[in-house]
């Protein structure tokens, strides 16, 4: 009996969120007195999961380098069945959210996504998850034999807890792909909204795409991803990929900086899960101030360049 977690990788290296998923799995395994086992795909550094409490990794090497949900799900299904795993832990990246429902269907599992903490009850297994697009939490019971927990980004954090870790590189018979990849376009070397620790987001208050250097310069200093409100992408000032909110991408970073965004309910719904929110807006009545932790009432065109310069100096000396 064990807890099985999926550690994501890209270009043969574990992704950053693998540490958080490993930490969550190890903590749960500790509570339940079970083994914590991970599955990774083509990860050269799978060993590093040991730093976060994972004692065994099955690193599968006969699967496509490029994420393929159908294939990966069949491999995870194989390990769930062969290990008799009862608790399956996945993250909330686009890929993990693609995989989880497939694995759930393959193993007739119960699945709760967007989970924000360790289960607060084991009998029946009960987790706390965000619902109604972050406007509420639901306590959800999972009562199947196999239960899948999808951990929200940055919801648990990483906990270092080094243990001996055995990596078994191997091959598994798996399903054939359902889909053929024709092309992929991905900005490399730029933090993505899903992966970044910090997101800097701009709204209609920035008046036009020609002013986006304000957002980009600040983001660069903070190693942050850039995002925008819906009207900004609707008007074509920024690409749709940057649209965040209830109908765009969800954001749950450690720090979210909103510049010239009013804080409409649909925007807040999608970004509220972020830990610390900073708002820069020249209207003291902007609703975003009610949801923010820190705020500056001021003109973005004056405030943001100063903030960027001062942060640069701060980063240089720390």
């Amino acid at each position: 009996m064990s807890i099985l977690l999926f550690a994501e990788s890209e270009n043969n290296k574990l992704k950053r969120n693998a540490a958080e998923i490993a930490s969550y799995g190890a903590a749960l395994a500790g509570e339940l007195n079970k083994d914590c086992v991970a599955v990774s795909f083509n990860a050269d550094n799978a060993q590093e999961l040991g730093q976060f409490g994972v004692s065994k990794v099955f690193n599968v090497t006969n699967v496509p380098q490029q994420f393929d949900a159908h294939v990966y799900a069949s491999v995870l299904t194989h390990y769930i069945n062969s290990l008799g795993a009862t608790h399956i832990i996945l993250g909330s990246s686009a890929d993990a959210k693609f995989l989880a429902p497939l694995v759930a269907a393959n193993t007739d599992a119960a699945y709760a996504p967007n989970v924000v903490a360790l289960p607060h009850e084991q009998q029946p297994l009960t987790v706390r998850r965000t619902a109604f697009t972050n406007k509420a939490f639901a306590n959800t019971t999972l009562t199947a034999e196999v239960n899948i927990i999808g951990v929200g980004n940055n919801a648990f954090g990483t906990v270092e807890q080094a243990v001996d870790c055995v990596v078994e590189n191997g091959t598994v018979e798996h399903a054939a792909s359902h889909l053929k990849q024709l092309s992929i376009s991905k900005e490399t070397g730029k933090a993505t909204i899903a992966d970044a620790d910090v997101v800097v987001s701009g709204g209609r208050g920035l008046k036009g795409p020609e002013h986006w250097h304000l957002v980009e310069d600040l983001a660069e200093v903070l190693d942050a991803a850039t995002a925008c409100s819906k009207p900004v992408s609707d008007m074509g000032w920024r690409s749709h990929d940057e649209h965040v909110g209830q109908t765009g991408k969800p954001v749950s970073t450690n720090l979210y900086i909103a510049i010239g965004i009013s804080g409409a309910i649909q925007h807040l719904a999608g970004v509220n899960a972020s830990k610390v929110k900073v708002v820069i807006n020249n209207d003291p009545e902007a609703p975003f101030f009610k949801a923010a932790d820190y705020g500056i009432v001021g003109d973005a065109f004056e405030v943001v360049p100063v903030l960027t310069e001062k942060l640069k100096a701060f980063k240089a000396q720390s």
């Binding site: 989880a100 759930a104 639901a138 959800t140 376009s185 992966d195």
Partner: protein, 248 residues
Amino acid sequence: MNILVCISHVPDTTSKINFVENDTQFDTNGVQFVINPNDEFGLTRAIWFKEKQGAQVHVIHVGTAPADPTLRKCLAIGADKAFRIDTPAIDGMAVAKELAAFVAENPYDLIIAGRESIDYNGAMVPGMLAALLDIAFVPNCVGLEVDGNNAVAEREIDGGREKLKGSLPMVIGGQKGLVEESDLKIPNMRGIMQARQKPFEVLSPKGSENTTKDVLFEKPAPKAAVKLVPADDIDQLIELLHKEANVI
């Protein structure tokens, strides 16, 4: 081509979220329910296939009678037939099993669902449905072209896009981008009149078991008041973010 569009019926995006019965039930009082925004993009794309490629478009919802006006709206927008499987939607897997059983008996070439429902936020039903039917699935779908038995779909990934090719039948989880917002179909008078004549079937469920259940809801704790920093004292903000919030 026969297309099935899976419709989820959700509180309007501006709804205030409250709970009743000791916080075990969503308070529907005064809440306006709508077609899940992601499903609206899918439905509009389906109607496009109907207009351009002669597709038949059916819509389906697993749920109870209060969703009927939402399904009628889909008919008014241009769907040809509506189905409702008459059982409360409690668990994504149970919903997917009901849908899979329906599709096993009534095959479709293309099944369009939404990326996620904005109430449950599971992003689970379409993937589960595809896996139960053992057919291809494209989530976060922002583009879809069908030519005969072949489909080319584009999906949003973290930081970019991926273009995929597969053969029908296929399930997609659609979202904005599948069609533009300005192209979303809204019912006109003629559509609303026609919808009354269109077939609408209520089906009995297969009784799929629920293995997840929301037993208690909580609203986030009220937020402490924002700390305002004067616009001419940016150093203070940096200090707070560094020392107090620990995020830089």
